[in-house]
């Protein structure tokens, strides 16, 4: 016969709760760092596909961290107040048009951001996320 003794005291409960809190912080930090990594991977792939004539549109691309109290979020976007040196127009005024309208001159750039996110999301996003969280823990 085997006997196991278990003692629960206010001190042990408190220590257990502290260890859970610490683990929770580690998971959130790991997820936050992993999301930075995944977003940078996706952005790098989008940059490989964005059409480049003057480079203004590609240079306007960025990853923005938009965390809230309950949500970890990264937003990848193109188009801002930076000007196209050839036309003088702000990149924000034509980024949507370039993304949405198919052009025979840039067939691989059609929907460069949406298709990058879909393909990366389908193939590697969760894998990268899980690996990085595990490595951080």
């Amino acid at each position: 016969m085997k006997v196991a003794s278990l003692q629960i005291t206010p001190t042990s409960v408190s220590a257990f709760r502290q260890s859970l809190t610490a683990a929770s912080h580690r998971v959130v930090n790991a997820a936050n760092n992993s999301l930075d990594f995944a977003a940078s991977m996706a952005f790098s792939q989008a940059q490989d596909r964005v059409p480049r004539v003057t480079g203004a549109l590609a240079n306007s691309g960025k990853v923005v961290k938009q965390n809230t109290a309950s949500l970890l979020r990264r937003v990848i976007g193109y188009g801002d107040s930076s000007l196209n040196p050839r036309t003088g127009r702000a990149t924000s005024t034509y980024a949507m048009n370039v993304h949405e309208v198919y052009r025979a001159a840039h067939p691989d750039s059609y929907k460069w951001l949406e298709l990058t996110i879909r393909q990366y999301g389908r193939e590697a996003f969760l894998h990268d996320l899980a690996l990085n969280i595990r490595a951080a823990l």
Binding site: T93, E100, V101, Y102, Y110, E114, R122
Partner: protein
């Protein structure tokens, strides 16, 4: 292209898109598949730009990602046209349609996008929506 042929015919029957253009048409202000032509100005284009193939779980069910593009020299016309199509799609959430013997489920998740003007000054709007259907 068979799926797109059926889809345009379905939208045309429901009065939310012109019929698909045919080689014998003299009035060519209609709907084109996959490629938006340089002329005429007032046209539609329906294209499949991405797809999720069937899985072991989904069996034959796959998803076509469709982009509808409306182009017109009059802004109010193209605006009304694309919103008419969008309202038609969102009035059917989760409802299974039968098109030419195959089921389809429309799942418009975003509204029409203004895509500016082309080099001739025509206004462009696009609408992207996934369609779940039997792929083979």
């Amino acid at each position: 292209m068979a799926f797109l042929n059926d889809l345009v015919a379905f939208f045309h029957t429901n009065a939310v898109m012109p019929a698909e253009v045919t080689p014998s048409d003299t009035d060519r202000e209609k709907t084109y598949l996959q490629n938006l032509p340089a002329t005429p100005d007032n046209v539609w284009c329906l294209r499949i730009y991405d797809s999720d193939v069937p899985s072991l779980v989904g069996k034959q069910a796959g998803v076509y990602r469709i982009q509808a593009t409306a182009r017109n020299k009059v802004h109010s016309t193209v605006y009304n046209d694309i919103y008419t199509l969008w309202r038609f799609l969102i009035s059917r959430p989760e409802l299974i349609e039968e098109i030419n013997g195959n089921y389809v489920i429309f799942d418009a998740q975003t509204g029409p996008l203004p895509s500016g003007q082309d080099e001739k000054g025509n206004y462009l709007y696009t609408l992207n929506f996934p369609v779940k259907t039997k792929m083979y």
